[in-house]
Each structure stands twice: as structure tokens, then as C-alpha cells.
């Protein structure tokens, strides 16, 4: 490879070599993000408008490429409009779950003792509750809106991450390079966030992709059960609304389902590739 190339280009090429799945996943996610941005800022059409007869079959070309749903709404517009709420709910929920999980797990694993016992009993309290049922209860108590749904999913999805973070911090905190950092004058904060966390990152990144996918699926499940926000056109909402007619018309359920499947796959690929890129041992140089 030429040494004079633009550093960003070189980095990108190196990433393509060490983690091709990250590039594929990233590209797919960018497509979904572009859909979301197009729908929010450029597409003037309202997904709730009834534009034709119900259950028009998809033609893939022409004015109604993906057909219409049970009320005669344009499924292509619904699908575009569903990208933004689905992605933002997933991102907020996963962010909340990761922050809660990593923070509690890190404190428990690093300090151990009474604090560990306390935090882990607290985590187990959440773990024994069936997550989807708990989420349903919380959503019913609050009025469903994208914000409350995102916070609810984040709030029920953190315990596995907390347990994983605890196990990793517990394993790494007594390794010699951590003791060496203590000998060099590092305090607890530096040890936890600068020394242990980077080395605990690979399983946590995998866990993060799982939380993102869980969040997308939970959002879909809540909408499917009719507990979602009826004023928000998310992919789960489309599936939930059309599920009763699936035997008459498959497309209003199949296309959003495919969109969820591809998005979840993209996030998993991104996480997997990211781990390869971040691992110094796979450095292409």
C-alpha cells in the first residue's frame, strides 16, 4: 500500500481488511439512517394518509411500489417513516442499558465486597422479572410515547450487561498490568475507565449489539401487542396493525419484518467487525 495516501483513506482500507463485516454493517446502517433522514426532512408525505384501496399488492415499480396496508396507506411511505422511530428508540434504549449496565457492573466488579453483593442482588431483582412483561407494565403505567418506550426498554435490558461487565472487571482488576498501573499511581477512576474498560471492551461491544437488537425487537413486540404509541409509525407498529390480515396480504407484515431483520443483522455485523478492528493483534500493519 502507498505510504502517502490520505490517512483517512488508509484507515478505511485497513478497516476493510481487518473487519470487512464492520464496513458492510456500517453501510447497511447508513442506508437505514438515510431512509430515516429522508422521511423526516425531505419526504412531505404523511404515512397515515389513505392513498388507495386497501391491500393493493406490491408492484415494485410505479406509484405504490410496496402496495398498501389494510387501510389503504402507502406501505413504502410507512416503511420510510418507520425507520426514524425504530432507530432512535433502539439507540436511546441501548445507550441507557449500556450506561446503567456497565456502570453498575464495573463498580460491583472493581470494588467487590459489600458493594458487589448489594449491586448484584439489585441486578438479580430485575433479572427474575420477565423483561417483556415488566416492560409492558411500565409502558402501561406511563403513557406510551417514543421517549417512554425507549426509556422502558433501556430500563429492562441492562441486567445482562451489568453481569457481564462485573465478570470482566473482576477478571481484569487483579491482572498484573492493572497492579502495575496502581504501582504507577493510578487511582480507582483511571484504573476502571482507562485501563480495565478498554480491555473489557470486546464482550461489552458484542453485548451492546445484542442490546440494540433486543431494543428493536422489544419495540416491535410492544407495538405488535398494541402497547406502542399509535401516533408513531414504527416498523413494529406496522406489523402489529397488519397482523390480523396476514393470511390475506403478506406484504404489510413481511416488508417491515425484513427491515427489522436487516437492521439487526447490520448492527451485529458492525459489532463483530468493530471488535476485529479494535484488537491490536489484528492490526494489518
Amino acid at each position: 500500500m502507498t505510504g502517502r495516501a490520505d490517512p483517512w483513506l488508509r484507515r478505511f482500507l485497513s478497516a476493510c481488511r481487518t473487519g470487512p463485516s464492520a464496513v458492510v454493517g456500517m453501510a447497511a446502517l447508513l442506508v437505514v439512517c438515510a431512509m430515516a433522514l429522508y422521511s423526516v426532512f425531505l419526504d412531505g408525505r404523511d404515512p397515515f394518509d389513505i392513498v388507495s384501496l386497501p391491500h393493493r399488492a406490491p408492484t415494485f415499480v410505479g406509484p405504490l411500489p410496496l402496495g398498501t396496508d389494510y387501510l389503504g396507506r402507502d406501505l413504502a411511505v410507512c416503511l420510510l417513516a418507520g425507520a426514524a422511530p425504530t432507530l432512535s428508540v433502539a439507540a436511546v434504549a441501548a445507550g441507557l442499558a449500556m450506561v446503567l449496565g456497565v456502570a453498575l457492573g464495573a463498580l460491583a466488579g472493581f470494588f467487590g465486597g459489600r458493594l458487589d453483593d448489594l449491586l448484584m442482588r439489585f441486578t438479580e431483582f430485575f433479572q427474575v422479572l420477565p423483561a417483556l412483561l415488566f416492560a409492558m407494565v411500565l409502558v402501561t403505567l406511563w403513557s406510551p410515547s417514543p421517549t417512554t418506550i425507549a426509556l422502558t426498554i433501556g430500563f429492562v435490558a441492562w441486567p445482562p450487561t451489568a453481569r457481564l461487565a462485573r465478570a470482566e472487571f473482576l477478571r481484569i482488576r487483579d491482572l498484573e498490568y492493572v497492579v502495575a498501573a496502581r504501582a504507577a499511581g493510578a487511582g480507582a477512576g483511571h484504573l476502571m475507565w482507562r485501563v480495565i474498560l478498554p480491555n473489557a471492551a470486546p464482550p461489552l461491544i458484542v453485548s451492546a449489539t445484542l442490546v440494540v437488537t433486543t431494543a428493536i425487537l422489544f419495540e416491535a413486540a410492544l407495538s405488535f401487542l398494541g402497547l406502542g404509541d399509535p401516533d408513531t409509525m414504527s416498523w413494529g407498529q406496522i406489523i402489529g396493525a397488519n397482523r390480523e390480515y396476514v393470511l390475506d396480504a403478506w406484504w404489510p407484515v413481511a416488508f417491515p419484518g425484513l427491515a427489522i431483520f436487516l437492521t439487526v443483522l447490520a448492527v451485529s455485523l458492525l459489532g463483530d467487525g468493530l471488535n476485529r478492528i479494535l484488537d491490536p493483534k489484528s492490526d494489518g500493519a
Partner: protein, 323 residues
């Protein structure tokens, strides 16, 4: 002149899981009343088998784990009496090299960052001075400047140990604790690292606390040697005195068992006792001499009364019947 490091009656115990919720928790007494002193520019070897408490002493001296009793005075001040900020500042003067260079370097940091870390953490010098110091250390320990940006997995074991030594030297310490620094290395690399440590001691007037089970390595580098058995020092003497006239029966057994000293048998030093058995459990150590169960000279007195370290000739020995 007062000693740089003065360890008195050091006690370290690790609580063990109890049998029941309210049962008293037994504790593993890893170090039991260890005392020694170490002067500026001197090297003391701590020798013993696995589980003797050598590494525990080393870590307790660095205050990397908490002693339950005794004092560790460094340059006249008790380390265990310092508050967190004062201890942090003191860490400049005390550094450590670990046994396993494969686990003592952060795998996600580059070599230069690893060596610079203590300077960053203790806020020593400005960035330019730190970079210059790191470059100087790389040269001093025998690493090339172009290796600075490599990750630890791209180095061999000996090179990794050089990085660890450079890191330990970064702050300009006065005491370097070496916890079995050559145990994980092959013979030639071991020799190179020992020569490097000896050179550093002479150049910087470093005091070395050298923990090892390798008598050959200790003999190369140490002025004084302390033999440990089940958390106690059983014999403490000058290097030549110890190898010429081992007085504690355990020391004799160790010398006889050391393969690197086997050629001495031809000079009439046959192995007198091949040791059988294992040391007693440190969770509930016996009342008398811990070595009595394996000692060829043991008497009922040995099993009842614990011998104290006392002067015998030029050595100090903890035995009722020193040879």
C-alpha cells in the same frame, strides 16, 4: 546511615471464606513477622518455594496490598501511615517489575505509552520532557526507538521485560522491587535481563528487592539473601556466607536441590537431604517451627517452640539447632 527501606514485623493475612454465615472466618497468614533492612544501592534477595510469601512481602512493601501488622519505613517514613495523596507522591520512589511480562503490559497500549504511563499518572515533566525521557529509557534498556509504537504482543518475552523495566525506571525510583523478573524467560534472556538490572543498580544507585526461587539468579545480583519458609524469614545472611555456610536445614536442602549449583557436588557437597512432603497449611500454621515436619534434625522442642531469628556466626538464623 539509616536504611532506605526498613521492614519491621510485617504481617499479611488473607481472609478465607467462612464455613457458615456466622462462623469466624479463618485467615491465611501469608507473611508472619518478617523484618529486614535494605540500604541505598544494595540488593536483597528473597528466596523460597511457592507459597512461602515472597511475592506477598514484595507487594506489601509497595503497599499494593494491605499489611495487617508491622511497619514499612521508606526513607524514614512509614508508608502505611501516609494518606492516599502522600502515598501517590511516594510511588515515584518505589517501583516494581513483575514476574510475567506477558501479563504485566496492557495489551491495548503501545510500548511508548506503557513506559510513559507513570510519568503521565504522577504528572512528572511536560509532554516534551516525558517523550525525551521515554526515548532515553528505551535506549538504556536496549530497545530500538522504532519499536516505540508497537503493541506488546509484537515483542518477545525478554523485550517485554525490558519494556516493564523501562516503565519501572520512568519516574527515577530509588527502590526497585523485582518479583521473579526472570522466571518466565529462557536462559540467555535471563542472563541479559540480570546483567541489565545489575547495571541499572550500579548506574542509578538503585536499591533492589529481588524476589526469586532461582538461587543462581539471586547469587548473580544480590548482596544479601533472605530465605523464606511459610511466611517467615528462616535465614538472612550475606551472599557468600549463605552459599559457603548454609546454617538452616531448609537452606541446606534448597542449595542441595538447586540444579544450577549441582556442579558443587563434585567439591564434596553431596545432597544431604532430599526434602519429602510439603509445607504445612498457612491457614492454621503449627505452633513450633514450621519446618519441623520435614526437618531431619527436628526434636520435640522444635514442634513446640517457634525459633526466633538470632545471630549465628555471620548469619541470622531461625533454628533451635543451627548447623
Amino acid at each position: 546511615m539509616a536504611a532506605l527501606l526498613d521492614v519491621r514485623d510485617l504481617e499479611v493475612a488473607f481472609p478465607q471464606p467462612g464455613s457458615g454465615l456466622f462462623a469466624p472466618r479463618p485467615s491465611l497468614r501469608a507473611v508472619r513477622g518478617v523484618s529486614f533492612t535494605l540500604g541505598q544501592g544494595r540488593a536483597l534477595g528473597l528466596v523460597g518455594e511457592s507459597g512461602a510469601g515472597k511475592t506477598t512481602v514484595a507487594l506489601a512493601v509497595m503497599r499494593l496490598l494491605d499489611a495487617v501488622g508491622g511497619t514499612v519505613s521508606f526513607d524514614g517514613a512509614d508508608l502505611y501511615a501516609l494518606d492516599a495523596a502522600a502515598m501517590r507522591a511516594r510511588r515515584r520512589d518505589l517501583q516494581i517489575v513483575f514476574q510475567n511480562p506477558y501479563s504485566s503490559l496492557d495489551p491495548r497500549r503501545r510500548a511508548a505509552d506503557i513506559v510513559r504511563a507513570p510519568l503521565d499518572l504522577l504528572g512528572i515533566g511536560d509532554p516534551a520532557a516525558r517523550a525525551a525521557r521515554v526515548a532515553g529509557l528505551f535506549a538504556r534498556v536496549g530497545l530500538r526507538a522504532d519499536q516505540a509504537t508497537l503493541f506488546p504482543h509484537q515483542f518477545s518475552g525478554g523485550q517485554r521485560q525490558r519494556i516493564a523495566i523501562a516503565r519501572a525506571l520512568a519516574t527515577g525510583p530509588r527502590l526497585l522491587v523485582c518479583d521473579e523478573p526472570v522466571s518466565a524467560l529462557d536462559m540467555i534472556t535471563k542472563r541479559q535481563i540480570l546483567d541489565l538490572l545489575a547495571g541499572l543498580r550500579d548506574d542509578f544507585g538503585l536499591a533492589l528487592l529481588f524476589v526469586s526461587h532461582d538461587l543462581g539468579a539471586v547469587r548473580r545480583i544480590c548482596d544479601e539473601i533472605a530465605i523464606m519458609y511459610l511466611g517467615r524469614i528462616v535465614e538472612l545472611s550475606g551472599r557468600d556466607e549463605l552459599f559457603a555456610r548454609p546454617r538452616h536445614p531448609y537452606t541446606r536442602a534448597l542449595l542441595a536441590a538447586a540444579p544450577s549449583l549441582a556442579h558443587r557436588r563434585s567439591q564434596g557437597r553431596a545432597a544431604r537431604c532430599a526434602l519429602a512432603g510439603e509445607p504445612p497449611s498457612p491457614i492454621d500454621p503449627p505452633p513450633g517451627c514450621a519446618f519441623a515436619g520435614r526437618c531431619p534434625r527436628a526434636t520435640p522442642k522444635c514442634r513446640a517452640e517457634c525459633p526466633e531469628l538470632a545471630a549465628v556466626g555471620a548469619s541470622r538464623v531461625a533454628c533451635h539447632f543451627p548447623g
